[in-house]
Amino acid sequence: MSESELQERERRLAERERALEAREHELVDELRGLEERERALAEDLRRDEERDKHRHEVETVVSFPVGGRPPYRHWTDRDTSAGTVLAAAMAHFGVKDDATATYHLVFHGDQVDPAVTIGSLAGESHEVALTLAKELIQG
């Protein structure tokens, strides 16, 4: 092999090496892209699962003006009865029915039947705001 042929072969090998390096960079970038996509998909999946988890739940908030405590706040299954929420809210505020007063939930100004479900109060919404009312005896 002549000197010029050797130089030409060397040049081609160098070119090929550069092309391989460039391809390697492309593949590394591609891999990073795929990894980022995988992370994004995993995050989407996690969010979907979170939405699914609360799809049948309602964020239930019960305030009590004279409770002296922050409102009762809980993710509640749509099938949960208002009576169950009432009991939980009363426990949260540390009150109970006695001979002088009874407690019930109020929604949009109306007393809530303990048998109705939270889902029926919330409708399409994912949250429902209730008030704990203390009904007083009269003299």
């Binding site: 003006p65 002088t100 203390k134 007083l136 005896i137």
Partner: protein, 146 residues
């Protein structure tokens, strides 16, 4: 509790009362001349065309219950039977509400001052009184006295 403290605490709690009454089509008007005196304009849910003017006067807040009367208008007389709604415990004959959230009731029933009926200064008692008045109108309203 001094007048200034009553005034400042009422001011702090007033906003929640304004929001609550607004949601129920009501109004609150503060008397600028008398500390602790408010007029609540309320409507029963079943008869929104009816308007009731409630005079709520806190002599001390939040440490004591307010005087609650119905008047024939804002600043009007509190001795007009037609200003009163028919609700159990609302005694038009003596122009008072005999339930343990008014100063009149605690005057009639001193035994209510202790135990579970005792006045509670916790939280926002002004909002609780407003909610109680509105709730009574919504659930126990039997018409207007004549």
């Amino acid at each position: 509790m001094g007048t200034l403290e009553t005034e400042l605490t009422l001011e702090a709690d007033e906003e929640a009362v304004v929001s609550f009454l607004d949601e129920h089509g009501g109004l609150i008007i503060r008397d600028v001349d008398t500390v602790g005196l408010y007029w609540l304009v309320l409507h029963p849910k079943s008869a929104p065309e009816e308007t009731f003017y409630t005079r709520v006067h806190w002599s001390t807040y939040p440490g004591g219950p307010p005087s609650v009367r119905y008047a024939d208008g804002i600043g009007g007389t509190i001795t007009d039977p037609r200003a009163w709604p028919i609700i159990p415990g609302y005694r038009v004959g003596s122009f008072d509400i005999c339930k343990p959230f008014t100063s009149e009731a605690y005057g009639i029933h001193p035994e209510w001052r202790t135990g579970p009926t005792a006045w509670s200064p916790a939280g926002n008692p002004f909002l609780w009184v407003a909610q109680t008045l509105q709730f009574d109108l919504n659930t126990s309203y039997g018409g207007r006295c004549s």
